[in-house]
Point group: C2
Chain length 157, copies 2
């Protein structure tokens, strides 16, 4: 996913070092209507250029399905957008519940200096659609500038 | 819900004292297909007779819908059963994920000496059906005997 970061020089360099940016664990539940899937995700602290480590971001394949996060540790931003380009960035911190309504794409960004750990739940039949975000990126990016977290328009979007 | 406990003398006595057994908080999400509802539940420590404080227990109105818990604090038992009477009792402890598959009724019991706190997620259209459990109780009950947690058949079932 190195091509998803703004600073391509830094991304290419990071790629040669192959840092662990995020991982997730889950248990076996059928990926079917009626069931709920869950995972514990970890995004490690770090940056590619000025951009914080983040997940790829995705829509659900079954678009009308929500997702919900409970943040267990760390500090993050949840970047969300609709197919028509409406955008929202909300805070994640220990104990916060973040709701991703149906139809919204979502990406998680670690803005802290420790791992960002969260519990996520979504419908068994939701599925993942990574293609749109892989192609266009997301409208907003989360960067560090002068030791501050800033949210700016993505010039590549 | 005092009539749901085995020891009716203790239950009637508790009723006059009106103890806080459990409470929950949630945020506003439409109760519709596609959405996910969530709540943070607290069950206080205590007993009615030998039976630990517990929730009422329910099926979902839309029966083919799961529920999932992440335990945040405390120690509990999750009592589950199907409409045909199949029964399972599983452990809840800090950090544990408990999965309630579609069709299973569920009740939560605090077996510890501190509040049992858990984050729960279920489908927006799931609904609650308390009637069946209110009428028949659940097949298994969770009691303290000689300072031990024991799970026995419910003689009133």
């Amino acid at each position: 996913m190195s091509d998803m970061y703004l600073d391509q020089v830094a991304a290419k360099k990071a790629l040669t070092e192959d840092p662990l940016i995020y991982e997730f664990s889950t248990v076996e539940v059928p990926e079917e209507d009626g069931h709920l899937l869950h995972c514990i995700s970890i995004i490690y602290p770090g940056k590619i250029g000025n951009e914080y480590f983040m997940t790829k971001g995705h829509f659900h394949e079954v678009e009308n399905t929500a997702e919900i996060y409970l943040t267990l540790k760390g500090k993050g931003k949840l970047v969300m957008q609709t197919p028509s380009g409406e955008c929202k960035v909300i805070e994640m911190k220990e104990g916060s519940v973040s709701y991703i309504p149906p139809y919204w794409a979502h990406r998680t960004v670690n803005i802290g200096d420790e791992p960002l750990l969260f519990f996520g739940v979504y419908r068994g039949d939701a599925g993942h659609n990574y293609g749109i975000i892989e192609k266009n990126g997301m409208k907003k990016i989360v960067q560090e500038k002068n030791n501050k977290v800033i949210i700016t328009d993505n010039p590549k979007y």
